[in-house]
């Protein structure tokens, strides 16, 4: 592969770089980019990560690790003495959820990569909603772990994350991706159920989502057009 001169092209996924970086690098050599073009390249790199034509491994890894972590955290919380007194009896499980939450943020974004070059409005809205919800949730979990209290905002952040996950799930179902789409729908719905088992069910749903992604790899391999 020819040497890539522009370091910004390293922001793109490896597979994308192997296919397009040499020619995009040539273009940038013909027309050195200004600030606006540089920002456009950043947006292009993000787009390439979110809309691959190949099957990336990281969404499955994130869903499996995050799902299993959340399942374990939920099971530990279920095993605690009742009655629950938030955040008291859950305090010791917070580090588990804190470790799993960033993984499930990645898993949510990763699940939408299964749409490939298709990008329905539900996914375009669902990704930022889920990202904001997850990030707020993570920050509030940190606050709760530090005994700063975060009851109502925490529930609000979780609801936002659930809404984003729901939209991505709907987009997947719309694309005929039944296994992963249904698992995300279940994950989103159980997340807003105020029941002791909901955290475990949420983790199990994500674990099922990881299994569904392994059983049905997407996006499909690219098709090749033919000239007459």
């Amino acid at each position: 592969m020819p040497l890539i001169v522009d370091p910004q092209l390293r922001l793109y996924p490896g597979r994308w770089q192997r296919r397009y970086a040499h020619e995009l690098d040539a273009l940038l050599g013909d027309e050195p980019p200004g600030l606006r073009a540089r920002l456009d390249l950043v947006a292009g790199a993000v787009d390439a990560h979110l809309h691959p034509w190949w099957v990336p491994a990281w969404p499955v890894v994130a869903a499996a690790a995050g799902g299993l972590g959340w399942t374990f955290g939920g099971a530990v919380a279920l095993g605690q003495p009742v009655p629950p007194d938030w955040p008291g009896y859950l305090q010791e499980t917070l580090p588990i959820f804190l470790a799993a939450a960033p993984l499930l943020l990645l898993a949510t974004l990763g699940a939408s990569t299964r749409l490939g070059s298709r990008d329905p409005a539900t996914a375009r809205v669902g990704r930022p909603v889920a990202s904001i919800g997850w990030l707020a949730w993570i920050l509030l979990l940190v606050a709760a772990a530090a005994n700063l209290g975060a009851g109502a905002p925490l529930a609000l952040a979780a609801t936002a994350a659930a809404a984003g996950i729901l939209l991505v799930g709907i987009a997947l179902l719309g694309a005929g991706d039944w296994g992963t789409g249904a698992a995300l729908l279940v994950a989103a719905l159980v997340l807003v159920v105020p029941a002791p088992w909901s955290a475990t069910a949420f983790g199990v749903a994500w674990t099922v989502a990881a299994i569904a992604q392994v059983r049905d790899p997407r996006p499909r391999p690219r098709t090749t057009g033919r000239l007459a």
Binding site: A26, P33, R36, R118, P120, R222, T223, G225, L227
Partner: protein, 109 residues
């Protein structure tokens, strides 16, 4: 998926994709030439990241295909499917323009 769906499904890149297909309908061209032609014909800037995001999608859908190249500048050409999708999209846009102009009391040029 119908030809119309193929373009609508490109989401935010639909407009840039149609412009790229229009350029390639005039013959094969590489990235820099496509970018220059789009900017010349539309008067709008086309960023390198947007250009290659659109090219990658169009190639994945089989609407364009790369030609053998001796250097790093990779030329692309329209496929038969790409021609069909472009024709359907242009007809849709033409019908939309005609309808809009009629409602404004103006006749298309």
């Amino acid at each position: 998926m119908t030809p119309d769906d193929q373009v609508a499904d490109l989401g935010g890149l639909a407009e840039a994709s149609v412009e790229i297909l229009v350029v390639l309908s005039g013959g094969a061209a590489h990235g820099y030439a496509i970018k220059a032609a789009v900017e010349r014909e539309t008067g709008r800037s086309l960023g390198p990241g947007t250009l290659y995001a659109a090219l990658a999608r169009l190639e994945a859908r089989g609407l364009i295909e790369p030609l053998p190249s001796e250097d790093r500048r990779q030329p692309y050409r329209l496929t038969v499917r790409g021609s069909q999708v472009l024709a359907a999209e242009l007809a849709r846009l033409q019908a939309l323009a005609t309808r809009g102009l009629e409602r404004l009391g103006r006749t298309p040029d």
